[in-house]
């Protein structure tokens, strides 16, 4: 089996962590992602923007009780890319298969 190229957008710890969380839920707020990944707000914000620019997630900003809220949701393109990334990873894990 040939080694497939790993998507550079997803092959980064924090971006992959965010995508793995968003794949599992309907939508999540920035604070949830920050808590679960235990990352800094600045770094998380940068990585979320990269995922958004790649079209992998949708980001909605709104206000709730006068506080700004950033809600993230995985897109169809994001799900497809994530599945392709996992398939590519499997070629590294089972090179003989």
């Amino acid at each position: 089996m040939e080694f497939k190229e790993l998507d550079p957008i997803l092959h980064s710890q924090l971006r992959l962590a965010v995508m793995s969380l968003l794949i599992s839920v309907r939508e999540a707020e920035f604070t949830f992602l920050k808590e679960k990944t235990n990352s800094t707000a600045g770094n998380l914000s940068v990585q979320i923007n990269k995922l958004k620019d790649a079209g992998y997630i949708e980001v909605t900003k709104q206000f709730s009780n006068n506080y700004p809220q950033t809600i993230c949701k995985v897109t169809k393109k994001g799900i497809e890319s994530f599945e392709a990334y996992v398939t590519a990873l499997q070629t590294y894990m089972n090179p003989g298969g």
Partner: protein, 200 residues
């Protein structure tokens, strides 16, 4: 963040870890199960006692207290919704199961009122209580709720063999098995919720 040390094996471990973080997140604190469980237990035993002691002309008025709980629940749900930081597919399904249950309860009360079939009311209530309880247990993969749902159905069948007024006691027993015990177990599980596993 150290991408240079990030191997395919690390990637799979991270995906697994994060999916489990989201999956194991337990948002149900059992509060509404406890609220309704205790309220219906109180109302059914209260109704039975008032009926037996013949203290009032209409012992069924005790159920009017449920309207206060409905108002309280609406306020509670609006407040908790504002605090939610994540929405999951399973929570969405469970919400709609309970909305359907509420609608069915309303329609059934309406039908029974029209047909004067109140002697079957507790059997039908017990049957209806079982469905959302069992389904929520399936979606949450929470055995006490599944068991509670099955107990409600069993009690619904038993209730057809006894005098209708004793159905009130079966209703009280169903509340303990289906909502009160699972409610406390849900609260316990909620309090033991997972914390972040590692620093990224």
């Amino acid at each position: 963040m150290q991408p240079e040390n990030f191997s395919p094996k690390d990637s799979l471990q991270l995906i697994d870890q994060m999916i489990n973080q989201a999956k194991n997140r337990f948002s149900e604190n059992g509060f509404l199960y406890l609220l309704w469980g205790w309220l219906i237990l109180f109302c059914s035993i209260g109704h039975f006692v008032l009926l037996k002691l013949k203290l009032v002309a209409h012992p069924e008025v005790i159920w009017a207290s449920c309207w206060l709980a409905v108002i309280f629940q609406v306020i509670y749900l609006v407040k908790t919704k504002k605090k939610e930081t994540v929405k999951t597919y399973s929570e969405n399904i469970i919400n709609y199961i309970w909305i359907s249950f509420g609608i069915c309860m309303f329609i059934m009360s309406f039908i029974l009122g029209k047909s004067e079939g109140w002697d079957k009311v507790y059997s039908l209530f017990l049957m209806l209580y079982g469905t959302p309880t069992f389904m929520s247990g399936i979606v949450m993969q929470f055995k006490p709720l599944k068991t509670g749902g099955i107990i409600c159905w069993g009690l619904a069948i038993i209730s057809t063999f006894i005098l209708p007024e004793y159905g009130l006691l079966l209703l009280a027993a169903a509340m303990v098995a289906a909502w009160i015990v699972p409610g406390y177990l849900l609260r316990k599980k909620y309090n033991q919720q997972n914390k972040p596993l590692q620093n990224l």
